[in-house]
Symmetry: D2
Subunit: 218 residues, 4 copies
């Protein structure tokens, strides 16, 4: 099978519209290298493209994407840690000032975790997804403390709890916490609702998420 | 520190322009769930946003992003495998028809690997990046077979070799290869040049990359 | 000479990106006809595209563009009145609810008028531009009443005065004024500054223009 | 009535997305003035925004828009000639290299003309539209020579004929023809189909319009 014709035409469209318009900026970035200010940790979900949702410029955000926008705890060993490598690259080499964990509604990974937990399927199910999602097991309790409902029975509550959990895990990286304490790095949690385009922001003091104020759509 | 004001305004801009225009499409995707046709494996690099480069619609591509767009070999064990989980989700649950490994010029991860290899720094350097990039050690030989130059001394040659390596590793996933053999799944390699916006496509028969034909920019 | 290659590629880019994404909307508009809510009267200037500046959807604004966004006074006779025909089409047939006169900084037509007035060149100079711009001769006095400076010596003062003049002229169209009095139509004056992207809004009560409040750019 | 909230938010969206991204370009254009290469003569229709359809940059095209994208014949007299003033500005002052007359499907002005002609309504009907559209009366015969059908009974045939007519009228401007003969200016006719986004190009040798070749939409 050939490359999907749609993507070939999409690429040509990009090159002759946006790339053409911003080619000086791209050329400068190629020459000078990237200096993103933000690391965005987002989901692989096809409906939530961070550069689209935040209208980010090329060069503005380093973006790591995995199933359910998870951060594993700090565990430097002989295994391959893709997400942790991205965090190390962002914090120690690029010295980003912000890390944003951006979750979203209807997350397939969270849904799979809930389904498995409620049905007694263990993390050895399948090869990788169930084990990966097992990272949020501690969030079940975290969620209970913050939301009125049992998160296992509520998809949104579990999505929000997983964001809090990922931020907790970020703080297990010693060189990251050092920068946060020095006031050189801030951590943020966001949750995007695909259905209506609204965005909720984690208030770490209360543990709650509040909707970003915005004018109604016309 | 607050959420960067730039991203807040970028989000508001998105919501009142593109989201407003496509809100019916987003609402349908929220209701019906995603059915992406393609899994894109891309780099965390801030200059190469797949949805921008391919002008992808919401719902069109599942996108996993890690340092240097790598695919580890199939290794189902008790460890957390973020990239492999995304591949499993894409292939077994969403049944995508295409997997694209999309590399790019000036890749920081590839550069770090070359620097370490040429200077005798081993993979235990740092906590995660060097170990993660060690995944492409086999590509050093793979590159030599295909390109005229020693890839360790040539950034582009090593970037292209790493794409071939990732495609080789994809084929170690048994359920993925099964779908490929059944003609239900195709694998592709691409390389994007940030400086001039050109795109090269891997020809698996020859191992070479050829530039996608395109009209010159005005 | 052929069609400029840049525009051909720009069109192809549009068709494979934005048109593809909005094709259902375009198809509906083709089937149902247009029902724009707003008539925008704008300048031919290449730097001020109304659909870009207001991120307008297809179908949203009827747009007439002439040199310096002028409205001639109501004069139904045997001559061809292009702008008045557009106003008639908008008000009587499409029954728009808003008419916006949108001026801008560095207007070449206004500049030509000022140059001619200050240098004693009369409206018979050239074939059409000087005569056309003579439409704003009354605005010279209108401006004096509202702005501290002599508008002939100040480009911006004259641009703002010309917007007020055009709105005065709109009110010479009897069927337009009838709808305004009935509360079915509102008239607005805007001025766009190409240099910094700011937008000023006419306050008809005071005759002044005030900047639309907006967050600073990041 | 206030300014439509939708346009206010659309403007804010533009300013924080595209304007922010291109602000250096806008600032340069404000400083240096415009030097557009093309004059686009387009319709007021809300579904056919030239900068959108051709993805034009700020500064790239001077755009005059009137009902049905008409060009009156050269007639320098004491009356106000808005379209002719724009042509004079483009050709004599800005020295554009291309003039494009861009018509489109389902044109309301053309439809009104056909309706009036077929029903015996004369050009004195209404105040301005019927008189303005009377400009294309000669196109009725022009169309008969080129298209198989009676253009009065066929909307598309009449739209295409009106484009040819406008190009004929452009050639009545002596200083325009002088530049065309000197090879410094080219005239083009285009027709955009709102329903499917296709574009047809006038071949002046044959008088026919042929579809611009383009890949099918995905």
């Amino acid at each position: 099978m050939n490359l999907p014709e749609r993507l070939v035409e999409g690429y040509r469209g990009f090159r002759h519209t946006r790339f053409r318009r911003e080619r000086d900026h791209y050329a400068r970035l190629a020459e000078a290298g990237q200096q993103p200010n933000t690391l965005m940790i987002a989901c692989v979900d096809s409906r939530v493209a961070p550069e689209v949702v935040f209208d980010a410029d090329p060069g503005e955000m380093l973006v790591v994407r995995n199933v359910a926008n998870l951060v594993p705890p700090y565990q430097p060993d002989a295994n391959y840690h893709g997400t942790s490598a991205a965090i190390e690259f962002a914090v120690r080499q690029l010295k980003v000032a912000h890390i944003i964990v951006c979750g979203h509604a209807s997350c397939g990974g969270i849904n799979a975790f809930r389904h498995n937990a409620l049905n007694g399927v263990d993390a050895a199910h399948g090869d990788f997804v169930a084990r990966w999602m097992d990272l949020i097991a501690p969030a079940t309790k975290l969620a209970l403390a913050c939301d009125a409902v049992d998160p296992l029975h509520d998809q949104t509550a579990m999505e929000l709890a997983a964001i809090r959990q990922s931020i907790q895990n970020l703080r297990t990286f010693p060189w990251l916490t050092a920068r946060e304490k020095a006031g050189e790095l801030a951590l943020h949690g966001l949750w995007f609702d695909v259905a209506d385009g609204s965005l909720r922001v984690l208030d770490e003091a209360s543990g709650g998420f509040t909707r970003l104020d915005d004018a109604p759509l016309g």
